[in-house]
Symmetry: C2
Subunit: 260 residues, 2 copies
């Protein structure tokens, strides 16, 4: 399984993906699911993948590495003139891979399944973030719907629904994405560290941050702990229902002790 | 869709269910999914249901209402001598309904799908909480795994994973169940209010609280707001990543303004 989230912010894009792949519970591996394309001063793009690994690797091979596909060279993200053209390049690659493998995959009881998040900015065009579906079609994030998720998205969604806004600062966006990932890690073993965090700032035309976050990452360790503590403290501080008897209420808590 | 959660606490059981049923997005109805069986001084049980409504109503009809099923009278929860026997009565009813309808249901492209949470206490036996599967088999909550969920469970799970403990006070459990439901309501339109909250205290052998919580419930309105505020405040107070530049950090916030 996979968890990838992209936040579309006023000042840039924050992308975060896990790296776990599994075929059953006893065939676990680590593969990057985030790929970047950069021409400083001209373009900076990030592509995240979810779904069947053979399929997503084939698509990435065509659109990022520019590996020729059977039947001629495909276009790559380096050649896209606009972000919409870039999304169309990914969509077309998904459909080509589908045409090659879907029938054999289904004959082997597999399922053709590949989704992508593509974000970035090219030349004078706007910064944009797209989610590309298995059929190769796509939707775009907006100020009203400022985040996109692929893979195991449900556990990490409640905090985004409550706290995500297009005008968050980039550092707050990074925190929020990491908290959303942490909620997913705790609830689904098939999503695992390390994670890849990528930040592209608006009009910078470069990959600002591309950081691999491991179990030992001091900031992530601290964030996980302080977030859990904050949730438990928030719960303790919220008043109990007035229609429950006093006997059922917890004793007043020492919040410091509570968060130790 | 449905969301039901049961918390197995030292001092009792807290159960919460929504009431929305839907067949597509334009066929929405409100049905209770929580049923209680009470003999003051002897037994108090709560049964919550998820899945195909015709199936769950048939099971409830047999085990709660004691309606005779085709072929003879079934045993009901009022007749169970122990909680394990009660879970077996529900499991047997699920299998009987399966035998009657599964074939026709599948012929009509339907799916036999019914899961249950059963909690309570009978006479001198211990308080127990079971999750009963579509096949009629069941698992039990424990001090180490002190909550069970059925239906659309993922959105409401992160807060339970972080904050649920067997030794929470009952009022804290009620808060936690309501927060977990709120996370689900925000993320999935097919889960909807009103909700039914049921509390059975250990050794009380009666339904302590059975409260319908509507959109207008003053406590739930306050809880939803204060929880959202607390989450946003917690996010604002968590330090930003030291490896991001100062420009990307948000300005220090006035937490009071933040939580207004």
């Amino acid at each position: 399984m996979t968890y990838c989230v992209a936040l579309y912010l006023r000042d840039g894009i924050v992308c975060l993906s896990d790296t776990r792949t599994n075929a059953g519970v006893d065939h676990i591996a680590t593969y990057a699911k985030t790929f970047t394309v950069e021409e400083p001063g001209t373009r900076a793009l990030v592509l995240m993948t979810a779904g069947n690994l053979a399929t997503t690797q084939a698509v990435v091979g065509e659109v990022v590495d520019g590996r020729a596909f059977e039947g001629g060279a495909g276009r790559t993200l380096k050649q896209a003139e606009t972000m919409t053209a870039a999304a169309e390049i990914v969509g077309a690659a998904v459909r080509r891979v589908h045409d090659r493998v879907a029938e054999s995959l289904e004959a082997a009881d597999g399922r053709f399944d590949a989704t992508f998040i593509l974000g970035g900015q090219i030349k004078d065009g706007p910064m944009r973030v797209f989610q590309i579906y298995t059929a190769g079609n796509f939707v775009e994030a907006s100020e009203e719907t400022p985040f996109l998720q692929i893979g195991e998205h449900k556990y990490g969604k409640p905090i985004l629904d409550r706290a995500m806004r297009h005008d968050l600062a980039i550092a707050d966006g990074a925190k929020l994405a990491l908290v959303s990932l942490d909620s997913t890690l705790r609830s689904n073993l098939s999503v695992g560290l390390p994670a890849d965090l990528t930040i592209i700032k608006r009009d910078a035309h470069k990959i600002e941050t591309h950081r691999r976050i491991t179990e030992d990452d001091a900031y992530f360790v601290q964030l996980r702990k302080s977030w859990s503590d904050a949730l438990r403290a928030a719960l303790a501080e919220t008043p109990g229902a007035p229609w429950l008897s006093g006997d059922d209420q917890s004793a007043p808590r020492d919040t410091n002790a509570q968060t130790d």
